[in-house]
């Protein structure tokens, strides 16, 4: 069998991106973002893309570069507050944004990957999010009927995933809060490409601790330059914190 490992993000994407495609990309803020794959997507020059992700980039980082390059027509996201280009192009009507509650977005992607075309959630009932969607009652947690909104599963032509470690089989593990949307996206792309910080020998990842089984991963790329970016560096001075007991 051909190896799943590709020597660069550009090679992993080569010939796969076409205008009008739907691309999912993991990450929350700057955390767990498949940056090399995103830059390869920019280099592909593909236009009219629909991009699904929690933030779809932050100023000067991640999917922001693809936005700035005018390749994106539509975005599905939950929060774009640190993304001035996206905010302004949305307000000007150049880009369509479908705002999804964060949990609904996560569950829609999980559903898409798990063959569930639609599900019901209480989230968003009675708000703009429910407009035009089917609503109906089911018994709530205490048995009393409550209103729910039907949401549909999401899939993508290509899913970009950022993981910490991979083996050649494509088994992935994520690190701390860099996990976020990546595991669901790994199940919901027709083509799934994982960008990782380390490729380890098969057998090094504990079988009980694998987050994404290799079945979901088509291609693996060793990412470059993981001097990771921090969006909001918040620290406490060591001496004062110890004295005052203040935490936040």
């Amino acid at each position: 069998m051909n190896s799943k490992i590709y020597s660069s993000a550009a090679l992993a994407l080569s010939g796969e991106v076409r205008d009008g495609m739907t691309i999912m990309s993991g990450g929350f803020g700057l955390c767990g973002v498949p940056s090399d794959l995103i830059m390869a997507l920019k280099a592909s020059g593909a236009k009219d893309l629909t991009v699904i992700g929690n933030n779809v980039g932050c100023d000067d980082h991640g999917m922001w570069h693809v936005l700035a390059n005018n390749q994106i027509r539509k975005v599905l996201a939950s929060y774009v507050g640190e993304n001035k280009i996206l905010e302004s192009r949305y307000m000007s009507g150049e880009i369509e944004i479908e705002f999804n509650p964060q949990g609904t977005l996560a569950e829609r992607i999980r559903a898409g990957g798990a063959g569930i075309p639609a599900f019901y959630t209480r989230t968003g009932y009675g708000t703009k999010v429910a407009e035009g969607k089917e609503t109906r009652q089911f018994p709530g947690q205490d048995g009393v009927p409550e209103w729910y909104v039907m949401e549909t599963g999401l899939t993508a032509d290509i899913a970009f995933v950022k993981a910490w470690k991979a083996d050649a089989e494509g088994n992935l593990i994520y690190r701390k809060t860099a996990r976020n949307f990546n595991p669901m996206m790994a199940t919901a792309g027709k083509l799934v490409i994982a960008e990782v910080e380390e490729i380890v020998e098969i057998g090094e990842l504990a079988a009980d601790a694998i987050h994404t089984p290799g079945i979901f991963v088509d291609r693996i790329v060793l990412g470059s330059g993981y001097s990771k970016h921090i969006e909001r560096l918040t620290t406490r001075p060591r001496a004062v914190a110890a004295a005052a007991g203040e935490q936040f």
Binding site: S78, G81, K176, R236, R238, Q247
Partner: protein, 218 residues
């Protein structure tokens, strides 16, 4: 005399119970993390995929892979666990989080909450707020009683687009605390800031509310 932001946070902290799993929004709610009483075990949930949020890191020890939902660098505790966004919001939607404390732009007497967008202004998105108010068992909103213009924020109906309909259990402002029966659709005043008269409160409130018998009104 109105309550300060610190006093509002302290009042919100009184909603904590031993063993609670709690999600705190940005702003005043974040301060509640510093007000957990000694000996009380409260685990903080961060909706980007973490349970057991620790304090900010010491200088030089920040980890780019470890941030909270406000995208601030944080630390982990010995009992911390990490999970995906789908699992995190499964916890929220499934009613496993005991308490959410968050900010608001407007609250209605029936417990509707608006805190995510102002028509015509830049829209940033609702993030996890709609999921939190729909799923968490007890939702506490902490906000100023009035806008800077003086316009009331506790209203008969929210004018701003809703974050959730019938979702708020307790409203803490700088003037008063209201309990909201979100099924019954009715609010009750349960506390007044010292020196704030009922007349003054009513003049700054559009919502209708009952007055708790425990409030010894003259």
């Amino acid at each position: 005399m109105v309550w300060t932001r610190d006093e509002m946070a302290a009042r919100a902290a009184k909603e904590l119970r031993d063993g609670y799993y709690v999600n705190l929004g940005v702003g005043i709610p974040t301060q509640v993390a510093n007000l957990i009483p000694d000996g009380m075990r409260v685990m903080l949930h961060s909706e980007n995929g973490m349970l057991g949020m620790g304090p900010f890191p010491y200088e030089g020890e920040a980890d780019a892979d470890l941030i909270n939902a406000g995208k601030q660098t944080i630390t982990e505790l010995t009992q911390t666990s990490y999970f995906s966004s789908a699992d995190s919001f499964g916890m929220i939607r499934g009613g496993h989080i005991n308490l959410s404390i968050l900010g608001g732009m407007q609250v209605s007497q029936a417990g509707d909450l608006a805190n995510w967008m102002v028509p015509g202004k830049m829209i940033k998105g609702m993030g996890g707020a709609m999921d939190l108010v729909a799923g968490v068992r007890r939702v506490v909103v902490v906000m100023e009683h009035c806008e800077k213009s003086g316009a009331p924020k506790f209203r008969r109906e929210c004018v701003l687009p809703l974050t959730g309909k019938g979702v708020v259990d307790l409203l803490i402002t700088d003037l008063a605390v209201f309990e909201i029966d979100k099924r019954g659709g009715a609010a009750t005043l349960i506390e007044l800031a010292p020196g704030v008269t009922l007349e003054a409160l009513k003049s700054k409130t559009e919502a209708e509310f009952a007055i708790a018998s425990s409030l010894a009104m003259p």
